[in-house]
């Protein structure tokens, strides 16, 4: 008994001692974080511990662990979430000009960190579960029509980084019209059940017909599995959202963390990004053929610094007015 307790304590202390490993916190897709970690381990022999969740939960965990930080490198889905972390002074600046030069145009956004990939949000419909006689809509605003009553889901921007970036940009562009649209959606039976996957699942299983603000990689993955889904880029335009990879100031081994970021930005790392249904940030690494070509859909430009400043207020209002929380 006594020996067991001592052994247990020993176990705890022993593993705290060899802290030469890198800890990565990442938002979805979990498979990308895990395959990047595995490939990095194989290349360098260094160990990477991975924890994956959604952007909102990654941010919450970083805040909760502020006293005893565990994470070294963080990958989230929304650019504005990354800027918010930087504003809190948690980010160790790492964005070598040598890498920034090699990025595709939409990924060239100035920040104290790099974008490891890009994604978009769109509307996704299960073509087998449309309401009788309904056609695929071409506008965000069509989803408040009676024919879509109780048929639509959306990701919760408190959890999803892309949804929060999109929401803030949408509110910035449409102002009160945006809030009225969200109220109308809510009155029309739209639900915000959780992460992108939580919102997409009822669409795949036919319980709902469609989803708005769906993150591209989840929709493409569902399509690649053979599901009867169709992506619609609305005529009003969508936004392209860079996904930040950041080194935290609290990381004890900055060199190791930089190595990991360099690897994620290298052609080998970017191929994994493409394989996980995101648009690579590096020039010359092609996205999957199943994904819509950049430029084939309408995109509006975004002032990220301005959006990051308004994000907390927009999310707080969304939580109160739309989610009633």
């Amino acid at each position: 008994m006594k020996r067991l307790v001592i052994a247990l304590l020993g176990l705890g202390l022993a593993s705290a001692a060899h802290a030469a490993t890198l800890t990565l916190y990442s938002a979805a897709p979990a498979t990308l974080a895990k395959s990047l970690a595995a490939a990095f381990e194989k290349k360098t022999g260094d160990h990477v511990e991975v924890w994956t969740s959604s952007t909102g939960k990654v941010m919450a965990r970083l805040a909760a662990e502020a006293n005893h930080p565990h994470a070294d490198v963080v990958m989230v889905a929304g650019w504005s979430a990354g800027l918010d972390l930087a504003k809190q002074g948690m980010v160790y600046p790492y964005h070598p000009a040598a890498i920034e030069k090699t990025l595709v145009k939409p990924a060239q956004v100035s920040a104290p960190f790099l974008p490891y990939g890009l994604d978009t949000v769109s509307m996704v419909f299960n073509t087998k579960a449309l309401p009788a006689g309904a056609k695929l809509p071409d506008s965000w605003f069509a989803l408040t029509q009676p024919e879509w009553k109780d048929r639509i889901t959306a990701p919760n921007p408190l959890l999803s980084g892309t949804a929060s970036s999109f929401l803030v940009a949408f509110v910035d562009r449409y102002g009160n019209k945006a809030w009225q649209f969200l109220q109308d959606l809510k009155a029309n039976g739209t639900v915000w059940p959780g992460t992108n996957h939580a919102a997409l699942l009822p669409v795949l299983s036919g319980e709902r017909s469609g989803m708005l603000e769906c993150v591209g990689h989840a929709a493409v993955a569902a399509k690649a599995q053979g599901n009867s889904v169709s992506l619609v880029y609305p005529k009003e335009s969508t936004i392209v959202i860079p996904r930040p990879i950041m080194i935290l100031k609290s990381a004890p081994d900055k060199k190791l963390a930089e190595q990991f970021v360099d690897f994620a930005m290298s052609p080998a790392g970017q191929k994994l990004v493409a394989k996980n249904n995101l648009y690579p940030a590096l020039q010359g690494v092609p996205a999957k053929p199943i994904m819509a070509k950049m430029g084939s859909f309408k995109v509006s430009s975004v002032d990220w610094a301005k959006l990051a400043a308004t994000q907390p207020a927009v999310l707080a209002r969304f939580k109160k007015d739309i989610l009633d929380q």
């Binding site: 595995a38 969740s53 919450a60 059940p193 036919g206």
Partner: protein, 540 residues
């Protein structure tokens, strides 16, 4: 010396497992809510609309679960007592199995069965049925029903025990003196059943109000909120509000403790009395209600789990062309995190089973001596029954992640073992106490008289004679640890996944087929382990 050591060890164990997280919660709940400078989060809840909504959601869900599970459990218990079918142990097993399926899995399975293109509508001609069922599932009543399906076996066990404890002659006497069958039931059976019904109702209420997985999966679609998911949200979703999470947690705990104190006196003197009674009349038709219960509580959900684990694309449905072994290949491949999640779960649960039963035996020895300290130890050891997993997790985050706490427990897999040990301690100590009560005091006195030390009497007398109870308790602790979801979700460190968080993560963040494949593997492997342990136990 060794007695003092024993005392200190028990206090240390209970202090770390129970008092530390509870104390941290109480302290935090007395701080101002996030965004407020002054005040106490606990009092600020009184004007919080979301809290009041969640409270009514929890009360509603738990109340409905009681309302659904009591008639089902009562019906099944009466049926198997008065008119059992042939091979009744087999049919009884069918009633008990739904308790072994984690409720979040049943919830997910039913959400796949129902709906306009759910499996029910794919396979049957009743086009409206799936949609109607789905509307029911995604509501407060649906969440209550899923919990009722999971907990009806518990109700059945409690009521069946009450019936077996009754005196069948009372029934005969009432009939002889001219009562109708119903009147005899009212006089001879009902007085015995009422306390058991109340106890079962309270237990269902307690378990449902603490549940996280089912509301986490269904409440978002149902448009309702419950306390457990609010606590998780305030802790795990940015912006974080730990004082508010603690305050809600304290309320949920208080609800649990209240229910628990109402429950305890009802089951205290429930020792079995073996009675002879005329063999019951066996009828064939009693298998019908049992089959219906097994169908909705176990067979359909498990069939859905297996079906989805073999499907390529969810929206294509049950077709030959949609069949794949891919999810199993993926989960079982060497690089898969599914397999390592299963391994971690097995290892942690085994550790907790051994360590938990050993500590429970120590604590039970202390409780047996009687006195005020014994009563306190007993109270602390059984208190986790009333602490929901989500509240325990918040308390553990507050305690182990506090700025002054330098022990490297938070962020290490051992924290999951600590959480499991706390949650399962009441079960462990119940088995240990039942076992100790069976050892005649003379045996130990003889040992001590002949010069054996107390440690000697534990090793040479208690453990050998308690062995069956220890194994029984350890298997229960093991099974409960294997399925624990919410504390694992909130506490799991980087690089560590357990089976429940892998499955839940795949429902929420990834490929549902992979989650279902690991569910199938998990259910069968734990059933196998429990079966083997039980087999080994019976052979002795």
């Amino acid at each position: 010396m060794s007695r003092l050591f024993n005392h200190l060890l028990v206090y240390l164990i209970l202090g770390v497992l129970v008092l530390a997280p509870l104390g941290a919660i109480i302290y935090e709940a007395l701080q101002p809510s996030a965004g407020q400078v002054h005040g106490i989060a606990l009092l600020q809840l009184g004007v919080d609309q979301q809290f009041l909504k969640s409270l009514s959601g929890t009360l509603g869900m738990a109340g409905l679960a009681v309302l659904f599970s009591l008639p089902m459990g009562l019906g099944l218990a009466l049926l198997l007592y008065f008119v059992p079918p042939r091979l009744s142990p087999l049919w009884e097993a069918l009633i008990l199995i739904p308790f072994l399926i984690p409720p979040y899995l049943t919830a997910e399975a039913w959400s796949l069965l129902t709906g306009p293109v759910g499996m029910i509508e794919q396979l049957t001609a009743w086009q409206a049925l799936g949609t109607t069922l789905e509307e029911f599932l995604f509501s407060l009543a649906g969440m209550g029903m899923v919990m009722a399906l999971h907990l009806t076996p518990l109700v059945y066990i409690l009521l069946r025990a009450a019936l077996e404890n009754g005196n069948p002659r009372l029934l005969q006497a009432a009939r002889v003196h001219g009562s109708s069958a119903l009147g005899a039931f009212r006089l001879g059976i009902l007085p015995l059943l009422l306390p058991a019904l109340a106890a079962a109702g309270l237990l269902v209420f307690l378990d449902t109000s603490a549940e996280f997985g089912v509301p986490a999966l269904l409440a978002g679609y149902a448009g309702v909120q419950v306390l457990s998911t609010s606590i998780e949200g305030a802790t795990n979703v940015w912006p974080v509000d730990l004082p508010k999470a603690s305050a809600i947690g304290l309320i949920l705990c208080a609800l649990g403790v209240l229910v628990w104190f109402l429950y305890r006196p009802l089951v205290r003197n429930n020792e079995g009395r073996i009675q002879r009674r005329a063999p019951a009349r066996r009828v064939w038709w009693s298998i019908l209600p049992i089959s219906i219960f097994a169908l909705i509580g176990m067979i359909l959900p498990l069939a859905a789990v297996v079906a989805v684990s073999l499907e390529k694309a969810l929206s294509v449905g049950l077709r030959g062309s949609n069949f794949t072994w891919h999810h199993y290949h993926h989960v079982l491949s060497h690089s898969s995190s599914g397999l390592s999640a299963l391994e971690t779960s097995l290892r942690l649960s085994a550790l907790v089973a051994v360590f938990g039963m050993a500590s429970a035996l120590l604590a039970a020895n202390l409780v047996r001596k009687g006195g005020r300290i014994a009563a306190l130890v007993d109270l602390l050891a059984t208190l986790p029954m009333a602490i929901p997993g989500v509240v325990l997790a918040v308390g553990m985050i507050l305690f182990w992640n506090a700025p002054w706490n330098q022990l490297p427990v938070f962020g290490h897999p051992i924290i999951l073992a600590v959480a499991y040990a706390t949650g399962t301690f009441p079960f462990a100590i119940r088995y240990a106490r039942t076992g100790l009560a069976q050892i005649p005091p003379r045996l130990e006195q003889a040992g001590r008289v002949h010069g054996g030390s107390p440690l000697h009497s534990v090793l040479r007398i208690q453990i050998p004679s308690l062995w069956p109870m220890l194994v029984g308790g350890a298997t229960v602790v093991f099974a409960l640890s294997m399925r624990e979801l919410v504390a694992s979700l909130m506490l799991q460190p980087a690089g560590v996944q357990v089976i429940s968080t892998y499955i839940y993560g795949n429902f929420r963040q990834g490929t549902i087929g992979n989650g279902m494949a690991l569910s199938v593997i998990g259910i069968f492997s734990s059933a196998l382990i429990l079966g083997l342990a039980r087999g080994a136990l019976l052979r002795r």
